[in-house]
Every structure is written in structure tokens, then in C-alpha cells.
Amino acid sequence: MAIQSTAILEAPPPSANRLRDTLLYFRRNHALIAGCALLLLIVLFVVVGSIVTDPDDARPLAFRPSQPPSAEHWLGTDRLGKDILAVMTEGTPQTIRIGVTAGTIGVLIGTILAFFSGYYGGIFDTITRSAVDILRTVPALLVLIIIAISVPGDMSVLEMSLIVAALAWLGPTRVLRAQVLVIRQQPYVEMARFSGLSGPEIIIREMIPNLMPFIVAVYITSISGAVLASLGLEAIGLGPFEANTLGMTIYWNIWYASLINGWWWWWSPPIAVIVLLFVGLFLISQGLDEWANPRLRKRV
């Protein structure tokens, strides 16, 4: 479906068993499998954490502070007296939620902008293109800092997602617009136009399905970018202070100089999860890239 035009020429007709084909393709795409496996590892960690710990263990002064890992506290306790495993169990999904919320908003806005400006062109396209060109040269973190300090009172996890989403549409708009410009010239789009389909119909029925693998790849990249931005803001101290997100855990580590104090059990779990998350998302986007761009498929 993604590669209709080439598929007709090169590939044998699609077999009846699409599920089997999909599974076979997954087996060839090692990056995608490795990436999914890493994310699954994080899910497993959170599941185990939620069985072993109680949400109340992640509150300050729940236990004796700064204890190394033991049978009772698998990952030890932090300076504030929280059980670190409980903190991680609560914080990991929160950070992922920030990434997914902001990434989703970014991709939705980006897709709409990209298709409208790319397909219709004109003044709207000029404005979108200039805005993206100018804004992408500005260091995003600094703009987000100004937005974050403008939020009155204590920030919630949802507010954090919305702050990060403020610039999350830039990347998707730029990448998808370039693709729209390319496929707009394709024969099947012209054919659809000749057969009398309206603009929105062509976009929704012809172009979006064809760019779907691309949009999914962009979505993963934009989730990863949103997580990165949220971690940066939180590490500086502009995050939801009441929450236990991964970035806030890093912030408290910096605040209490956990490294110099030798509390390795406090700073290493958030870093491990963040590394797994980023490498996992990176591998998935590489794998999706191969799917979206058949020319990269070497092992077919």
C-alpha cells in the first residue's frame, strides 16, 4: 500500500496471508525488532516495579533517606526518603506520557500544515515555509524556557506536555511538507485530480495513506524530541515539581549533588531508562525509515 507504484512492478502479487507477510517483514527488519524489544524492557521494568512497590513509597520522607540498594528497597532510597524503584515506576510512564502527548500534538498540527501548504501552495505555503525556516534556526530549549517560566504556580504533567508541544510541530511540518511536494507530482495523484476528486479528498484518500509509513516514522522522532525537550527543561528546574518524572529525578540528583556524595544508585536508574528509551526510539525510527523508504531495503 505504501509503495503501490513500485510494488506493482517488482513484487509478486500480495499473498492472501497478510499477517504472515507482515511478520516475515518484521523478522527481516532487525532495527525495528531491537527497538521494540528495548521499549518492551522498559514496560517490563514498570510492571515489575508496580508489583513490588506501593505508590505511597514514592512520597518524600517515606523511608530513611540515602540508603543503598537492599532486599527491602531494590534500588535504594533517595535523599528525600523516597523508594527509588517506586519513583521510577511512577516517573517513567509520566515522562513517556509527556513525550506521547506533545509528539501527537506536534504530528497532528505538522501533518495538517504540511498537507495544506504543500498541496495548495500559495501565500499560506509561503508563510508556513518561512515560519519553519526561521524557527528551526532558533534553539528550541531557550524558547521553551521562556514559555515555562511564564506558567504561573506549580506545573502539572499535562502543562509540561503542552509547553513542549508548543514547538513540536516544527520538525514534522518541515519533513512532511517536503514529501508532499514530491508525491504531488506522482501520476496517481494527477490521475485522481483528472478523475474529478477534490483537494481534501485527494489528500485524505490518496496522499495520506501513501505517506503513512513516513508519518509514523516522523511521529516516533517527534516523541523522542519531545522527551528530550522535557528532560532538558526539568533538569534546569522548570518542570512539575510534585511529579517524579525522569527529568525531575535528574534535577534532584543535581540539586543534592548525588554524584559527589557517591549515591550511584540514585542517578543511575533514570539514566539507564532514558538511554533505553532513546536508543529504542532511535532504532524504531531507523526501522520505520527502511519501511517507508523501500530503496533502503537491502535485504529484500
Binding site: P139, I146, P152, F278, V279
Partner: protein
């Protein structure tokens, strides 16, 4: 290069400066927060006795500076004027030090760190990337370096924490924090320079480690393209030495898009460097920013944001303008 293009680029630069100043002005005001009020509340919550003279002085300077009794558009015009003169006001936490003074002290550290790290990673990454595309590369280059691509997916400051733990805490080869040893006084001398260098190696290395992959990937794909060109075939037909073809024919042509990459990556790199400075307590702009956020020091935060956005935009302008000198094929022409 045409005058048209030059003017367009300069206009774009001014537009970015204007936008940066504008969001600085309107965003915090939209939320209806009063930085002075907030600072006083913070001090009271910490049980600090704020002398009334200090408060009066602060409020007076603040009101005079921003003319808060004047209408909003008037304040806005004043604000733009102040920003254009790099007058960012006074720090609330370090009253009466001006924000400009604090930034002037911090900037050389950040620029030094970024410049060193970027040049090193650019050089290594470009050569490694070129070698990887070149069929005759040593085996270890083609097997070890792809691992660096994975590193580039991880934020560099987290890499910094790990490096700090291994090379400063477990094996104290390098210092744990700061830009120079506490017992030293900043001066221009050999000993002080060596001390600074020792403090810079780890933070710089954490930026380099994360960036090599980025440069290598870009260079590799360009080298693949260049290798298919006719002039490479011709050079081979002439029987030139491999090293000459590699450096003078292939690399020289493939390196140009890397310069554009340098300009475009600047924003991301500087955001990362700010966080690296925070992890290493390096006395640059990042640490000033961290202190300012902790102390609700609004004018300092706004000063840092404005200055960094402006310097990134300025550097890109410079790179864009010297680019045609590097690549004679590029002509900025309006059709």
C-alpha cells in the same frame, strides 16, 4: 553574492532578534506574574530578612527601568530599545550586579567549551565518516564507529554524568566540578591555562562523544554520492595515488554540505552545552541560567535567552555569508 541576498539574510537576522525580544516581553507578562513580588516571597519563605532599603532600591530601579506606570506599548518600545543596547537590567538575586556583567563573565567559558568540542567532533566525525564510505577503510573503523551513532541518540549531559562518575569519582583523574580549581585566582598564566584545560576535558568530551556520530553520518552519505562522480573515475584513470584521490578529490567536495550542517546543528548543540555546563558546574552561561531559575531571577533568564538566540542567529548569518567563498559553485542569485 548579490546585494539582494545579503539584505534578505540581514533582515532575517533582525527579525529573529525582534521575535526573541518580543516573546521575552510578552510571555511573562501574559501570565500576570510579578518577578519582584515572587522574589520577595521566596526570600520570606527561606526566612531571610530582606532589608527595606534593598527592596525599595530594587522596586525603584525596576519601575524606572521599565516604566511600569506607562502604557503597555510604551513599555514594549522601551524594552526593544534596551535589548538593542544589550541592557538586560539588574539581577534580582545579585542586586546591584547588572545582567550584562554576569553574562560577560560567563560567555568566554561557554564559547571556549563549545568551540573546542565542536571543532574536535567535526574533525574526527568528518574523517571517520569519509573513511567509512571509502571501501579501503581499516576494518576497525567500519566496525567500531557505527556504535557512536547510537550514542548520538542519548542526550550529551547524561553521558557527562557517566563520564564524571568513571573519570572523576571512581578514578579521580579529572576534577569533579567547576571551570578551575577553587584555590586558584583567574589570571593569564601557563599554570592557570593548564588548570582550565584539565577542567574542560570531560565536559568537552561528553559533547564530542555525542556529536561524532552526527558528523560521520552526514559525511558518509556525501562521500557515497561523490564517489560516483566522473572526476573520481578520471582521477583513478590518471593513476593518482589513493590518498590524493581521497583527500583532494573526494573529501574536499563532500565536506561542503557539512558546513551547512554545522550551521543548522548550532541551536541543538548550544542547548546541549547549557545542560552539560549544569552537570559539570562549569562557570558558563548554563550555570548562570540554572542559578537564575532557582532564584526566580527573571531578568537574568531573559538576558540569557535573548543573548543565546541572538548569537546563534548571528553565527548562522556569518556562516551563510562566507559559504560562497568556500564553495565557488554557489552563487546567491535571485531569479
Amino acid at each position: 553574492m548579490t546585494l539582494d541576498y545579503l539584505l534578505k539574510r540581514i533582515f532575517q537576522f533582525i527579525l529573529i532578534a525582534f521575535l526573541a525580544a518580543t516573546i521575552n516581553f510578552f510571555f511573562p507578562r501574559m501570565s500576570g506574574q510579578d518577578p519582584i513580588q515572587q522574589k520577595l516571597m521566596l526570600l520570606q519563605s527561606q526566612g531571610v530578612n530582606v532589608s527595606s532599603e534593598e527592596v525599595a532600591g530594587l522596586i525603584e530601579t525596576y519601575n524606572a527601568k521599565f516604566g511600569l506606570d506607562q502604557p503597555l506599548w510604551r513599555q514594549y518600545i522601551n524594552y526593544l530599545g534596551n535589548m538593542a543596547r544589550f541592557d538586560f537590567g539588574v539581577s534580582i538575586s545579585n542586586y546591584p550586579t547588572t545582567v550584562a556583567t554576569m553574562l560577560k563573565r560567563a560567555i568566554p567559558w561557554t564559547v571556549g567549551l563549545l568551540l573546542t568540542a565542536t571543532l574536535i567532533s567535526f574533525a574526527i566525525g568528518t574523517i571517520v565518516g569519509a573513511l567509512m564510505a571509502w571501501g579501503k577503510a581499516p576494518f576497525w573503523v567500519r566496525t567500531i564507529f557505527p556504535a557512536f551513532f547510537t550514542f548520538s541518540a542519548v542526550p550529551f549531559y547524561l553521558m557527562g554524568i557517566i563520564l564524571l562518575y568513571i573519570f572523576a569519582f571512581q578514578w579521580p583523574i579529572f576534577p569533579l566540578f567547576g571551570g578551575y580549581s577553587t584555590q586558584r585566582i583567574p589570571e593569564v598564566s601557563w599554570g592557570f591555562a593548564m588548570d582550565v584545560l584539565r577542567h574542560t576535558i570531560l565536559p568537552a568530551f561528553s559533547i564530542v562523544l555525542a556529536q561524532i556520530g552526527f558528523w560521520a553520518l552526514g559525511m558518509r552519505s556525501m562521500m557515497v554520492t561523490v564517489q560516483g562522480e566522473d572526476y573520481i573515475l578520471q582521477a583513478e584513470a590518471k593513476g593518482l595515488k589513493d590518498s590524493r584521490i581521497f583527500y583532494r578529490y573526494a573529501m574536499r567536495n563532500a565536506i561542503l554540505p557539512q558546513i551547512t550542517g554545522l550551521a543548522l546543528s548550532l541551536g541543538t548543540t548550544i542547548s546541549g552545552a547549557i545542560l552539560v555546563e549544569i552537570v559539570f558546574s562549569y562557570p558558563g552561561v548554563g550555570s548562570v541560567l540554572l542559578q537564575a531559575v532557582r532564584g526566580f531571577d527573571w531578568f537574568v533568564i531573559q538576558g540569557v535567552v535573548f543573548l543565546v538566540i541572538l548569537s546563534v542567529a548571528f553565527t548562522m548569518l556569518v556562516i551563510d555569508l562566507i559559504y560562497p567563498l568556500l564553495d565557488p559553485r554557489i552563487h546567491y542569485r535571485t531569479e
